[in-house]
């Protein structure tokens, strides 16, 4: 199986995905406003953050192994080799022509693990709106010198956002118990549909406390924030977004990036470990 150039419409059934990709890739490549490509690696490159520093502390984290090594994150880079292999080869990641494409990977339920990495992100000074329809300067909001727990969602999202939001909702109590100075932020990637009113309803559905800020805004501003968190999704289609959760201890500390769905206890433990590394 190789990437075949779309020859004609004659292949319109067989090449559904491929022709979509072909449509999307050249389209965004010369799109002046959005300089990301149709797949992950290029997207990460184009955001301009440094892979060497940014993903240096990446590791696969399994929910099954009871969080054995919380204190060892910094030096714990066992899976780096595999990751770099994926970075180096030129096949787009989505075609799955990589070493991760094994029988073991196929049999493993995806949802029990997530990837973690530490990154420095620059908070853009764009104006968004919160669920009370008030204007919020995102950089100023992020100037808050306390812990922040952040994700990207949209209210009509079918599959992963309801789970991510339920996780946030349920974990609030635990976070309060650990340290209630945190701020929770959910940013809508469907800002035009997610009006402040819809965000208020969504907040109610997930029993959001007052320190859970939901943000919407102009599409370009939202996308600026998405890009600054290296959270771009394919073809600018929100339906292709990934489950990402970001945690931060204070305004000058790096962001902990968690890629994959988390359970409530996992989120609480990540938060506790972030705030009190010496305890673990």
């Amino acid at each position: 199986m190789t990437l075949i150039k779309p020859v004609s419409r004659s292949a319109r059934f067989g090449l559904a995905a491929v022709s979509f990709f072909a449509l999307v890739a050249p389209a965004v490549a010369d799109h002046p406003g959005h300089d990301h490509d149709g797949h992950d690696h290029a997207a990460q490159d184009s955001t301009g953050h440094d892979h060497g520093a940014g993903h240096a502390k990446q590791d696969d984290h399994s929910g099954h192994d009871a969080h054995a090594g919380h204190g060892e994150h910094a030096g714990h880079d066992m899976s780096q080799g595999e990751d770099h292999a994926a970075m180096d080869h030129r096949m787009p990641e989505h075609l799955g022509m990589d070493m991760g494409n094994t029988a073991e990977a196929a049999m493993r339920p995806d949802g029990f693990q997530y990837k973690r990495s530490a990154n420095d992100y620059v908070m853009p000074a764009v104006t968004l709106r919160n669920q009370q329809a008030q204007k919020v300067n995102f950089a100023e909001l992020m100037d808050y010198d306390g812990p922040v727990v952040l994700n990207f969602i949209f209210t009509s999202c079918a599959t992963i956002c309801p789970v991510m939001s339920a996780t946030f909702g349920q974990t609030q109590e635990d976070l309060v118990a650990i340290d209630d100075s945190y701020m929770m932020v959910s940013i809508s990637i469907d800002p035009e549909y997610d009006t402040p009113r819809r965000l208020r309803e969504y907040a109610q559905l997930h029993a959001a406390r007052d320190n859970w800020v939901m943000l919407t805004g102009q599409f370009d501003d939202i996308f600026t924030v998405v890009r600054s968190f290296d959270a771009v999704y394919k073809g600018e289609n929100k339906m292709y977004h990934r489950p990402l959760t970001f945690l931060r201890q204070g305004k000058d500390t790096p962001w902990l990036r968690l890629e994959g769905l988390l359970g409530s206890e996992e989120l609480a433990e990540e938060y506790a470990a972030l705030l009190r590394p010496e305890v673990n």
Partner: protein
């Protein structure tokens, strides 16, 4: 609406309790109630009338109020994929059969869309399993173990379900996408397009020429591909069973809108169609919309200024935007956003729906955002009435006009320009106003513009223009024709992913999913849907008339999303 169905569900639950309680105690094997199964699937309400509860991701408690089966497995039951989470189909014909290695089935999965590596690994090495029965289904739902003994992904909640719940759900799943929808034969797939009696003949002609040409070329491709079925570059022969010739039926409506429903039913009975594509209807879409909903007939992106009011979530009509109501709301927000909002606004509107609906929307928005501003509303019946209204109120500082007939209003305004410092008009007046208005009138006029700014870049627009020019299609009404092309694209791509599972819900779900890809024909800044969403574009600009520009307008505000 939701309240009612809750009540119904409770009532049904109470009834079924009496009927089903005994067999539940007796053990498994009782016949489930399809309606209760549907309530469980769609609303997350169990047989006892309470929201069901479950646990996802190991320890996150969820209730049926937060999400239910339909969220992930979708109305069709075919599932979805999002963020690398592949949600498999759970329709009866899949669930209650063995899953065996099947090359064609794998190809279906393979070619759906861009996905992360874990997904591809799974697709290449799919898990086989025996058929489910009710006992195995109960185990999967409660304990997260599939029929083959494999653990399900943790995102699938482990639900606390009663035996009755499982039986009801099982009964409902067996009805889900169990029969190919009408309008499809072995050789053909039938589509209609609806043209209202008041549609502009030039616009209708431009729309139909675009559609006919699209059908003609699509069918030429189909002929070429199917004439040599064993010639199989790119695995084409695997998909031969999915090819259909597209047949277009033009449904022209006559007379008053109250009679449309009967006309549509008659045409549909004579020739069932799989969906209606595009269309051109002046006035409210309400009658047609309820016809589409009642027949579960997708009506894809009609050119309509007055969609059925409301959100239309999970309805069968999919629109570009909320039309004139959106224009009314956007104008209210625009006035509120100005440094010195007007103290008084005179609103003149026609008494038909084109006048009434935006006027009401404008008033409601103004009440919300500019409660202090005094709004005087004046209605008119006909041309003479409009003249009289302008003579009496034309000197207001801020004048908003929602005409019943845009061209008529422009003629009246051009002939006797009102003295108002600022005159706001709906987008439909643009083409005639830019020609008819004096420079002085043009300087004082602003339009609500729910379309794209003229200088924006959409690569797809050039491809479509190229397609049209190379086929000698005269582009006489660019917006109508580009919108029509988008509607056709959505139908084509929807079917492409459906392959030969010709279920309408499934096609609509794929349209929801794909609308946001770079398929925008350049008519609106963004076109995007999401699960259950039915309006692809959500905002509007304020524009001024610009006779010096080829397109005749210039955008003067931010994109306003009410």
């Amino acid at each position: 609406m939701r309240r009612l169905s809750m009540k119904e569900a409770l009532l049904a639950a109470a009834l079924s309790f009496g009927l089903v309680a005994a067999p539940v105690l007796a053990g498994a094997g009782q016949a489930g109630d399809t309606d209760l199964g549907r309530t469980l699937y769609w609303e997350g309400i169990g047989a006892d009338g309470q929201p069901i509860t479950g646990v996802t991701q190991g320890d996150v408690k969820v209730t049926g109020a937060q999400f239910s089966c339909v969220n992930c497995h979708r109305p069709s039951g075919f599932g979805t994929s999002e963020g690398g989470n592949y949600v498999p189909p759970i329709i009866g014909s899949v669930l209650f059969e063995d899953k065996t290695p099947n090359r064609n089935r794998m190809f279906k999965d393979l070619y759906q869309e861009v996905q992360p590596p874990g997904f591809w690994a799974r697709v290449r090495q799919p898990r086989m399993r025996p058929a489910y029965d009710d006992a195995l289904l109960a185990r999967a739902l409660r304990d997260g173990v599939d029929a083959g003994g494999h653990e399900l992904d943790p995102i699938m909640p482990r639900y606390d379900l009663s035996a009755a719940d499982v039986a009801n759900l099982s009964a409902y799943l067996k009805t889900l996408s169990d029969e190919i929808d009408p309008g499809v034969t072995e050789r053909d797939i039938h589509f209609a397009t609806i043209i209202g009696p008041d549609a502009d003949p030039g616009e209708a002609d431009a729309m139909l020429r675009t559609m006919e040409l699209f059908f003609e070329w699509l069918n030429k491709d189909t002929e070429g591909d199917t004439n040599n079925p064993t010639f199989s570059p790119n695995y084409r022969s695997n998909f031969i069973s999915a090819y259909r010739y597209w047949q277009l039926h033009v449904w022209r409506l006559e007379g008053p809108s109250e009679t449309w429903r009967a006309q549509l039913e008659a045409k549909y009975a004579e020739q069932p169609v799989f969906a209606t594509i595009s269309g051109l209807v002046e006035g409210p879409w309400d009658e047609i919309g309820s016809f589409c909903d009642d027949n579960r007939l997708p009506c894809i992106f009609p050119n309509a200024e007055l969609p059925t009011p409301g959100e239309g979530r999970y309805g069968y009509s999919v629109y570009f935007n909320r039309g004139l109501v959106l224009e009314g709301e956007a104008l209210g927000l625009h006035l509120a956003d100005r440094d010195t909002p007007p103290a008084r606004v005179v609103q003149i509107h026609g008494t038909g729906p084109q006048g009434m609906r935006p006027a009401r929307a404008f008033e409601e928005t103004m009440a919300m955002v500019l409660g202090e501003t005094e709004i005087e509303t004046v209605t008119y019946e006909d041309e003479a009435g409009l003249r009289a209204a302008l003579a009496a109120h034309g000197d207001a500082e801020t004048l908003v006009i929602w005409p019943q007939d845009a061209a008529e209003a422009v003629a009246v305004l051009a002939e006797a320009p009102p003295a108002a410092a600022r005159i706001f008009l709906p987008s439909a007046t643009q083409t005639s106003a830019v020609k008819a208005f004096s420079p002085d009138m043009i300087a004082r006029t602003r339009l609500v513009w729910p379309y794209d700014a003229p200088d924006s870049y959409h690569p797809r627009k050039f491809r479509i223009r190229g397609w049209m020019h190379s086929r000698r299609l005269e582009v006489s009404h660019p917006r109508i024709q580009l919108q029509t092309y988008y509607a056709l694209t959505m139908a084509e791509f929807g079917l492409m992913h459906v392959i030969n599972d010709f279920y309408r819900d499934y096609m609509l779900e794929i349209i929801e999913h794909e609308a946001e890809n770079e398929l925008n024909p350049g008519t609106h800044p963004e076109l995007a849907l999401g699960p259950g969403q039915r309006f692809a574009s959500k905002g509007a600009f304020i524009a001024e008339l610009a006779p010096d520009k080829r397109v005749g307008y210039r955008v003067v505000s931010e994109w306003i999303v009410p």
